[in-house]
C-alpha cells in the first residue's frame, strides 16, 4: 500500500481553486518532489496531507489513515517541516530538541539529531541568536526528532546559500537512504533533480506531468544549444536567422538564445558554419543535455497556451 495516496483532491477558498483535481501516490521509502511555481498549490496540498487543512473534496490517505481526523498515533509517525513556523527563540537548540523530542514514543537522541542536522557547534546557543539558515536546520532537526516514517519538507532550502543547500541535500539524502519516505515541495528544479526519485509537476492545482527526473527530461527533445546573440543583431530578428539555421523554434531571453534540437551535431555544424562565413563570434556557445528546468518551462508554457486559447 502506498504511504501517501491522493485521488482527485480539491481545495477551494471561495472562488480560488488552490488544489484542483490532484492525484498522486508515494511508495514507501520514496523521495517524491512536488514541483511548481509559487501559488501552484504545493503548500495547500501538503498541509492537507499533514492534517493542518481539510480538503473540499477528494480522497486522501496518509500512512493508511485520513489525516483530517487522525490523532496522536498519526502525528507520532510523521515529521513536518513547514515553510515558515517559528521556534521558541528564548530556548537553546538543545532545549527545543529535548522539549519537542519528549512528545514522541521513540525519539532520536539529541546527539543523533544534532549530528544529522549539522548543529553541533550551535547546540547551546539560543534560537534567537541563530542565522536564518541555522534556524532552518533547527526546523529540520525538529522534523526528524520523532524518527518519522514520513517526512514532509515544504521548501526546505528556500533562502539558503549554496553550501547550506548542499548540506541540507546530504541530510535529506541520508534520510532517504534510511528508508524514510519524504514528500518534498520545491520550486528549485536542481533540488528536485538532485533529490527526488519521482517528481510531480504541479500547475494551477493539478499535476501536469509526473515521472522520474530522467523520464521527464526524456519527454523534451534531448539537447539544448545556447549562445549569446551577436552584436548588431536585434532580438526580434533572431528567429528568422537562427530559427531557420537550427530548424526549430528558438527562445530568446535578454541576449541569450536557446533552442532544443534533436540532432545537435548537424545543428551545431550549420550554425558554426554560418558564424564562420559571417565572421561573427557566438559567445558562450554551449551544447548541453536538457535540464529539468527546460522540461518545466516547456510544460508550463503549454499550460499557459491551453488556458489562453
Amino acid at each position: 500500500m502506498p504511504v501517501v495516496d491522493v485521488s482527485d483532491l480539491h481545495k477551494y477558498y471561495g472562488a480560488v481553486r488552490a488544489v484542483d483535481g490532484l492525484s498522486f501516490h508515494i511508495d514507501a521509502g520514496e523521495v517524491y518532489a512536488l514541483l511548481g511555481e509559487n501559488g501552484a498549490g504545493k503548500s495547500t496540498a501538503v498541509e492537507i496531507l499533514e492534517g493542518h487543512r481539510t480538503a473540499s473534496s477528494g480522497s486522501v490517505s496518509v500512512l493508511g489513515v485520513d489525516p483530517s481526523d487522525a490523532g496522536r498515533d498519526f502525528r507520532d509517525r510523521i515529521g513536518i517541516v513547514l515553510q515558515s513556523s517559528g521556534v521558541e527563540s528564548e530556548f537553546t537548540v538543545r532545549e527545543v530538541i529535548e522539549l519537542y523530542g519528549g512528545c514522541y514514543r521513540n525519539p532520536r537522541s539529541l546527539d543523533e539529531v544534532v549530528a544529522l542536522a549539522g548543529l553541533d557547534e550551535k547546540v547551546d546557543d539560543r534560537i534567537g541568536s541563530l542565522s536564518g539558515g541555522q534556524r532552518r536546520r533547527v526546523d529540520l532537526a525538529l522534523g526528524i526528532v520523532g524518527r518519522p516514517e514520513l517526512l514532509f519538507l515544504d521548501e526546505p532550502t528556500t533562502g539558503f546559500d549554496p553550501s547550506a543547500r548542499r548540506r541540507s541535500w546530504d541530510l535529506i539524502e541520508s534520510l532517504g537512504d534510511d528508508g524514510t519516505t519524504v514528500l518534498l515541495t520545491t520550486h528549485y528544479l536542481d533540488e528536485a533533480e538532485h533529490l527526488a526519485d519521482r517528481v510531480g509537476v504541479l500547475s494551477h492545482g493539478r499535476l501536469i506531468a509526473e515521472g522520474t527526473p530522467e523520464q521527464l527530461m526524456n519527454q523534451v527533445s534531448g539537447t539544448v544549444v545556447s549562445f549569446m546573440l551577436p552584436d548588431g543583431f536585434h532580438p526580434g530578428a533572431a528567429q528568422a536567422t537562427f530559427g531557420s539555421l537550427l530548424e526549430v523554434d528558438i527562445r530568446v531571453s535578454g541576449r541569450l538564445v536557446e533552442a532544443n534540437v534533436d540532432q545537435p551535431t548537424a545543428a551545431v555544424h550549420r550554425i558554426t558554419g554560418w558564424a564562420l562565413d559571417e565572421g561573427v563570434e557566438l559567445e558562450s556557445l554551449s551544447v548541453s543535455r536538457v535540464s529539468l528546468e527546460d522540461v518545466y518551462l516547456s510544460l508550463t508554457e503549454n499550460v499557459g497556451q491551453v488556458e489562453s486559447s
Partner: protein, 276 residues
C-alpha cells in the same frame, strides 16, 4: 515500541517550559510581577496613612491596596499574560508547529494556563509578604481558606478570559493593546487603584458588571479585620465563575492555531487572492 510519555509528565514538562519562557522574557517578568509591587510601594507612600469608608466599615489604605493589588497581580499573570503570549506564539507559528506533534493539543494549552497560575501564585505571595513585612497587613488563618478559594476561582476565570481574548484578536500587536485597554480602565473602576464606593453611581455600576471588582473585594475581605471569618463571598465567586465560563466557551469555539492571513479566508482575502 514504547508508549507515549504519561499525561502527568507531559503536563509538568509543558508547564515548566512556559515558566522558563516567562523568566527569560524580562519585560514580562517586570510588568507581571514587578510593576504591581512598585504600585503597592507608591500607593502606600502617597496614601498609606489614610482610611477608606466602605458600606461595611472602615478599611485601612494599606489593607485596601495590598488586597486589591494582589488580585490585580493574579489578573496580570493570567488574563494579561495569556492574552499577550498566546497570540505571539500563534503569530510566530509556534502553535502550528506544536499542533503537528503528537503532544495532545489540550496539554499544550493546559501548560500555558498552569504556568500562568503558578506565576499568579508567586505574585500574590510576593505581594502579601511585602504587605505583612512592611505595611502591617494582618493575616488571619481562619480566613485563608476563603483567600485561597477566591484565588483559585479568580485565576481560573481570568485565565479563561485571557484565552478568550487571545482567540478573538487577530495579531499579537493588537492583543497586547487590547489586553491593557481592558484591564487598566477596569482596575480604576474596580477598587484596585482607588476606592470607588464614594464615586459616581455610573462608575460603581460599570465596576459591578465586570469580574475584577468582586475578585478584588473578595481578596480585600480576606485581609480586613472587620470582616468575620471565614469571609467567603459565594455570590461574588459565582459571578466571577460565570464570567470565566463565558470566557471558556469563547476560547473553545474561537481558538485558532494558525497565524492570521496564512490561509485565504473571508471576503477581503478572497478578493486579494483572486487579484493576485
Amino acid at each position: 515500541m514504547s508508549g507515549f510519555p504519561s499525561t502527568a509528565a507531559q503536563l509538568a514538562a509543558q508547564t515548566r517550559y512556559q515558566l522558563v519562557t516567562f523568566v527569560r522574557i524580562p519585560v514580562a517578568v517586570f510588568f507581571t510581577l514587578g510593576l504591581p509591587l512598585v504600585m503597592l510601594v507608591l500607593f502606600n507612600a502617597l496614601f498609606g496613612s489614610g482610611t477608606f469608608d466602605t458600606p461595611d466599615g472602615e478599611i485601612s489604605a494599606q489593607q485596601f491596596y495590598t488586597g486589591g493589588l494582589a488580585a490585580f497581580t493574579a489578573v496580570s499573570a493570567t488574563f494579561t499574560n495569556l492574552a499577550n503570549m498566546v497570540p505571539i506564539r500563534r503569530d510566530e507559528g509556534v502553535l502550528k508547529r506544536w499542533r503537528g506533534t503528537p503532544l495532545p493539543t489540550w496539554i499544550y494549552i493546559a501548560g500555558f494556563i498552569l504556568s500562568a497560575i503558578v506565576i499568579a501564585f508567586v505574585g500574590v505571595v510576593l505581594m502579601l509578604t511585602l504587605g505583612v513585612t512592611v505595611y502591617d497587613l494582618e493575616i488571619e488563618p481562619a480566613k485563608m481558606p476563603a483567600a485561597f478559594v477566591t484565588f483559585v476561582v479568580g485565576v481560573g476565570a481570568f485565565a479563561a478570559l485571557g484565552m478568550a481574548l487571545a482567540s478573538l484578536v487577530k495579531s499579537a500587536s493588537s492583543a497586547s493593546a487590547a489586553a491593557n485597554a481592558i484591564i487598566l480602565p477596569m482596575a480604576f473602576v474596580s477598587n484596585v487603584f482607588i476606592q470607588v464606593d464614594d464615586g459616581p453611581q455610573w462608575i460603581r455600576t460599570v465596576g459591578d458588571l465586570f469580574p475584577l471588582k468582586p475578585f478584588a473585594e473578595s481578596f480585600q475581605d480576606a485581609f480586613t479585620p472587620f470582616v468575620e471569618p471565614p469571609a467567603f463571598d459565594w455570590a461574588a465567586l459565582a459571578f466571577i465563575a460565570a464570567w470565566g465560563a463565558v470566557g471558556l466557551v469563547i476560547a473553545l469555539t474561537r481558538f485558532t492555531w494558525e497565524p492570521s492571513g496564512s490561509a485565504p479566508r473571508g471576503r477581503r482575502s478572497r478578493r486579494t487572492a483572486s487579484a493576485g
